[in-house]
Amino acid sequence: MSHIFFYLTFALYGCATAAYLVFLLRSSSQVGVWADRLVMAGFATHLLSTIHRFSSSGHLPITNMHESLSFFALSIVGAFILFERKYKVTILGAFVIPIALLLVISSSAFPSAIRELNPALKSNWLWVHTIMAFVSYAMFTIAFGAAVIYLIQQHFLKKKRLGALFQKLPSLNTLDDINYRCLTIGFPLLTVAIITGAIWAEKAWGTYWSWDPKETWSLITWFIFAALLHSRLTTGWRGKRASLLTIAGFLVMLFTFIGVNLWLPGLHAYK
């Protein structure tokens, strides 16, 4: 069952990605409406697939690479739908939904068999720690999408190339608002995720902090976004610098999430 939903999700995200890219390059608002509908449908099947997996395994489906990547994609799409509603930025989908699609594709490259839960993960902290982390990741992904568009728009404005694409992308102001909103939601959640992680580590492994690669890289991610939030609040940093730092933070975050799991051995490497 969860397989059928998973493949349906896969197909719907694929179609949505194509629709968003067409919407980006051609002038047809109808395509944008359809892209939004496809992504909603994809989110629904994705949610069903995740719930189904949850009920058949009895634990939150984030315990191996296959599940985690899929859950990450689910969080991104959920966050996108909320932001799309609030800011009326359909075009953001062209930058964010392809990421979700890639995650779903790479998730299917990992073994999807449900395994017995690693004893270390049998804890209620799993819920708090991981859900906080995933939602903050999703926020930073949305912020990344907005930052990329911001740089494109700023480039068009400085070069005075104000063509059809420029007209279609959102205003600098909207993009900066999205960036700030994502940061103010994502950063506290990441902080909570790290703190709950430390508490859980103390209970499970007997130490709050063991400089495991995941922990180290999470801390780097945290520092980058902390620096961004700090300079936004104190000196009013925004726009280009904020966008560049957001992109850097996103890349480090991605490495924390995927790279560390795959290449750096440690307590968090659950393949």
């Binding site: 728009q153 404005l157 400085k158 005075k160 104000l162 063509g163 420029f166 007209q167 205003s171 600098l172 102001n173 909207t174 608002d177 000196t235 009013g236 940093w237 925004r238 726009g239 280009k240 610098r241």
Partner: protein
Amino acid sequence: MNIIVVGLSHRTATVEIREKVAFSPNQMQKPLAELTALDGIIEGVIVSTCNRVEIYATTRDIAGGIARIKRFLADYHRLALESLEPHLYAYHSEAAIRHVFRVASSLDSMVVGEPQILGQIKTSYGYAAEYKSSGIILNRFLHKAFSVAKRVRTETKIASSAVSVAFAAVELAKKILGDLSDKTVMLIGAGEMCELAAKHFLNSGARGVMVTNRTFGRAEKLAEEFGGEAIRFEELFEHLHRADIVLSSTGAPHCIIGPRDAEEVVRKRRFKPMFFIDIAVPRDIDPKVDDVENAYLFTVDHLQEIVQANLAQRSLEAEKAEEIINQEIGQFHKWLSTLEVTPTIVALRGRFDEIRKAELEKTISGWKDLPTDAEKKLEALTMAMMNKLLHAPTAVLKTAGQGGRVDLYVDALRQLFELESLQQDEQELELEE
């Protein structure tokens, strides 16, 4: 019946001439009455805007009708026809239909795609309808023109982009600053374009205006006009950071805002973006200001380029619009030709003959001991009845054909005897409205 158009527009006449032949909108009864009283002119509509004066009329005599309307235009405004004639154009039949469809769709406007013209024609038609100078043909013709204009508007993007510099500036500001309702405009210096742009910004919801000028009195006067705040020129940099949009057009021989100033102002604003528009020649704002982060400088040339690009886009859309018009001309022309006398008489005879033959057939086929020559006699009898019945209406139609009111008869006949698909057309028309 022919539709003719006589008039002049921004294409053929300067504003000095256009204003001499303009009709005052609240006194349309007299010219409309005089127009329809002209020999051979049956219906008439007068359209008078600041860019065009045109008369739409129906007549049987194209050349005579056009000449009389030209004469009327000159006489009514007490002008010499010789001086007016070179500026006048005249169209008839299909060319006239095309012209009016194009005008209503704003393809013939000074700014292609501007939406006012349709409303102006509707108002002009309103007067003609009120004073009964338009009849069955022009009523239908103008309604058709309105529906064509609506089609052009919805099916092409002819009216969807900014085609004035001031409007382009507002659109651009929204792309940088988002919602303008909490944004402030700073006007440096004075100038028509600057003031126009400031008005556009205020109309688009900008919160307030600051005005500065080397002559403080002038700044005060402008500030009062816009309900804004006057700033002394020497104190410009003390207030500049409060402005989100800066419009500059002083006569200064050198730049008054350099990149250093801009950098400082932007920092003072905590890096909130600023939109500079330099309208002055020579420039007021150093081009290097554009290199400052979160400062966006546009000159009038840049804005002009946007306008040009939008205009080019419009002319592409205009081609689509011409295509739509071509389709609609054919349809309307077909309807117009059904109003002609001869085909109507033929159709009417055909209808009568059809009924006669059908009834004759019924009678004969049910008649058992039919006398030998009865069939011939019945045939002759019914023929004679039909001819007698049709004689008077045919004669009236033919005489009316030389006079004015023929289309009324023709239209009535076609409806009363259900000739061809005229009624269906009428329903279509109502649906369009």
